[in-house]
């Protein structure tokens, strides 16, 4: 029986994303491991974000904190800027929210 009070990413979503990336048949038990692993990931992520935010003397996690985190994780590098990852992984509607104007254009119009 599932507890409804425990928030978590729906297992079907985790399953679909993982299946999409792995491109191979996955044993049912293996999906359960992925799910468990995701829970562990979110726990780790929350404490990391808290540490970063507190270090900066804030109570709110800013976008910059996540960029620093992804740099530390080796996901964002000089050759792989954050906006490229955003363009690659997130659908257009979210991309628009995160990159209001193309960062790599000649004209950069600051807008909100």
């Amino acid at each position: 029986e599932r507890k409804t009070c425990e928030p978590g990413v729906p297992s079907s979503l985790i399953k679909n994303i993982f299946r999409h990336y792995v491109k191979m048949p996955v044993a049912r038990e293996a999906f359960r491991i992925v799910e468990k692993c995701s829970e562990r990931y979110f726990k780790q992520l929350s404490s990391d974000l808290e540490a970063y935010t507190r270090h900066a003397g804030r109570k709110t996690v800013e976008m910059a904190d996540l960029e620093v985190l992804m740099r530390r994780q080796g996901l964002v590098t000089d050759k792989m800027p954050l906006h490229v990852l955003i363009e690659h992984y997130l659908p257009l509607e979210y991309r628009k929210l995160l990159i209001p104007v193309a960062v790599s254009g000649n004209k950069v119009i600051p807008c909100k």
């Binding site: 928030p7 792995v22 109570k59 996540l66 996901l75």
Partner: protein, 76 residues
């Protein structure tokens, strides 16, 4: 694949772990991005493990081995 992010769920998860912590507007989308990248890395690692063991499917042991490495890499 469903592309929308479970935005409120992501906020709830972080709230569960760190009730004091607040997320700036759209920061949850970057959390979602980070989660996608995490699953991507995990998938790649698990696939490599399966290939090494000459297995045609991803078995739990492949994911467990991958999880150990990728969770370590995900530390901030």
């Amino acid at each position: 694949m469903k592309r929308t992010a479970p935005r409120s769920t992501l906020r709830k998860i972080i709230k569960k772990h760190k009730p004091e912590l607040r997320l700036a507007a759209n920061a949850d989308l970057l959390v979602h991005l980070n989660f996608l990248l995490f699953l991507h890395r995990l998938a790649e690692e698990a696939r490599t493990n399966a290939f090494e063991k000459k297995s045609k499917i991803i078995k739990p042991e492949h994911t467990i081995a991958a999880a150990k490495i990728i969770l370590k890499k995900s530390r901030g």
